[in-house]
Amino acid sequence: MSLTREEVERVALLARLELSPDEIERMTSQLSKILDHVEQLGQLDTTDVQAMAHAIEMSNVFAEDQLRAGLSRDDALSNAPKRDEECYRVPAVLGE
């Protein structure tokens, strides 16, 4: 399974990563090698096998509907790279 540079660039955008031309080069060949190894899963017939997403297969874990203390606003904002009194600050989302 050989990946192309274009595919790697597309995935990098999906993953919100900026990759240098060097990194794209390296990533293309390394990911291709790893996917080659993964190809062997295709040897197995899994038609009637149920997917296993989790080791403990439980569902609907209920909790009492009770109020309990959460983080204070200040605690929640305490690690923000940029903030004001009550919000996270980010670069403008909409262009002019």
């Binding site: 990911l31 090698k33 790893i34 190894h37 899963l41 989790h54 305490s78 690690n79 790279p81």
Partner: protein
């Protein structure tokens, strides 16, 4: 014997008999950290005075005749992947270099409640991704048996601090072997508990369906002690199991009768280093001499485990690590510089009348995300995010992610069948002993293949123990792996202890001049 040469269980007995104090023990470990850690680099943060103060508080309570918890004031090192309130938690990443959690992980709380003393926070592969601790943004951890070799990973610091006698007990995490492999490389004992046995609340997530927190120490009895302190249901982690926690420390000394051990033939094929094979066979003989019945078994899908794991774990990682966006917490790129660059690109496109280019220009917010993540993450983390994003992307989901989940079921079915026949599955932890620092850095796939014997336990969610079973001719430790059905830690620890009663590999320590 000096304090730092004793096992945690022995230290606890010595405190309780009044032969030493928590302050003396903590000071002895801090002194040894000062003497050797610059060479080993197991610690990212060292407790110092705060550890001595905590130890003093336990001593005072004991002197006053008040109750003291299970850990009796023993120092514990914690992998820097668990949140500690008010104390930097870096995950060995530039992304979180300044992150100070506003809350404690449940395991950190339970250790404090059991009167464990936080001795320091240990190094790891960035976000626990790797098998050598070379992917740490803060320098590689070295193997105390041979400083030119890796300590393993991702809990490299957690294993190396025990091996270097700079902590009696340590907390690691295991997503695909990250407790067991470094334990084997460093010649110490380590347990990956059953998925759900220990709360993951406050553990920085890598692959949520595989991650599990567990103890490392010299002896299996030490693991029983630390596991008893941290295990059990936690309402804050919906995936933690509501299964009673046995008093592991009370029964760990009781040997098991009529033991049936399964040896998977797939674990002893060409890929296994002959020196490892020999020592593991010798360890199996120790059980045979104690009356265990040894049976050859087969785990036919184990050869597909790496392929399934390296789809599932990166897929979960790509989703979990989406939270590092440079907006809420963690690293953000230099915004002023980024905006200047963006403005000049935009102006140039406008001037050239390049409408297509203007349309394709990312927004400042997207650029902030992409650049913050590019600068904050290291190469291995980026590789796994890319792999996972690809596997989950439109058109590939069925072929990769869903396929891997189905193979995961086949791997679990192999175990269920095997455990109808045998009590435990026994074999090597790793195909070879610790490798040289730098040997695999440019070859990610080769490094992934080292996880061959360990990833299946995570995919299946079962319990698995690594204990030292000898040294190669070069003086490098080799580990024995014992795997058990879910929630059988009590019997698993007893089985491990049976080996350590007959042997003293777990007492051998490297000499660091």
């Amino acid at each position: 014997m000096t304090l730092i040469q004793m096992t945690a269980t022995e230290l606890k007995a010595a405190i309780e008999q009044g032969q030493t104090s928590c302050v003396e023990i903590t000071r002895a470990y801090l002194d040894e950290i000062g003497r050797v850690d610059a060479r080993v680099n197991a610690y990212l943060w060292k407790g110092g005075q705060s550890a001595l103060d905590a130890a003093q508080a336990v001593d005072e309570r004991r002197t006053r005749g008040q109750d003291v918890g299970l850990l009796a004031g023993l120092p514990v090192a914690i992998k820097d992947l668990l949140c500690t309130r008010g104390l930097r938690t870096t995950c060995a990443s530039r992304m979180l270099a300044e992150f100070v959690p506003p809350y404690d992980a449940t395991v950190v709380q339970r250790i404090a409640q059991a009167d464990g003393v936080l001795l320091g926070k240990t190094n790891l592969d960035e976000f626990a991704m790797g098998g050598s601790t070379e992917n740490s943004a803060f320098g590689v951890t070295r193997n105390p048996w041979d400083l030119d070799r890796v300590a393993g990973g991702s809990s490299g610091g957690a294993a190396a601090c025990v091996a270097a006698s700079t902590a009696p007990l340590s907390i690691g995490t295991d997503t695909g072997g990250s407790i067991r492999q470094p334990a084997a490389f460093c010649g110490v004992s380590g347990l990956k508990p059953t998925y759900g046995r220990v709360s993951r609340y406050g553990l920085v997530a890598f692959a949520s369906s595989l991650d599990q927190i567990g103890p490392l120490g010299w002896s299996v009895a030490d693991l029983a002690l630390l596991l008893e302190a941290i295990a059990g249901h936690d309402a804050a982690d919906a995936t933690s199991a509501d299964v009673p926690v046995p008093a592991y420390t009370r029964t760990v000394n009781e040997s098991l009768k009529g033991l049936k051990l399964g040896v998977p033939r797939e674990h002893f094929d060409d890929g296994l280093d002959p020196a490892v094979a020999k020592l593991v066979q010798a360890a199996i003989d120790v059980y045979r001499q104690q009356g265990a019945e040894i049976r050859e078994i087969s785990l036919p899908h184990s050869r597909y485990a790496i392929a399934a794991y390296y789809i599932i774990a990166p897929s979960e990682a790509s989703s979990n690590l989406a939270r590092y966006d440079g907006a809420h917490y963690g690293y953000r790129t230099d915004e002023v510089k980024m905006m200047e660059e963006w403005e000049s690109e935009r102006k140039a496109l406008e001037k050239a009348g390049d409408d297509a280019g203007l349309n394709a220009l990312d927004s400042p917010l997207v650029r902030m995300y992409r650049r913050s993540r590019a600068e904050g993450f290291g190469a291995e983390v980026k590789r796994r995010i890319m792999l996972g994003t690809y596997a989950l992307s439109a058109g590939y989901y069925d072929a990769y992610y869903l396929k891997a989940l189905k193979v995961r079921r086949l791997i679990r079915d192999d175990y269920d069948r095997a455990f109808q026949e045998v009590d435990f599955i026994v074999g090597p932890v790793t195909p070879s002993p610790a490798f040289a620092v730098g040997a695999m850095i440019d070859d990610p796939l080769s490094l992934y293949l080292q996880d061959l014997f360990t990833v299946s336990a995570n995919l299946a969610g079962i319990a698995s123990l690594a204990i030292p079973c000898g040294l190669t001719e070069q003086g490098l430790p080799v580990g024995l792996q014992l795997q058990a059905p879910p929630f059988q830690e009590e019997r698993l620890l007893r089985a491990g202890h049976m080996y350590q009663v007959e042997t003293d590999w777990h007492r051998q320590r490297p000499q660091l001049p």
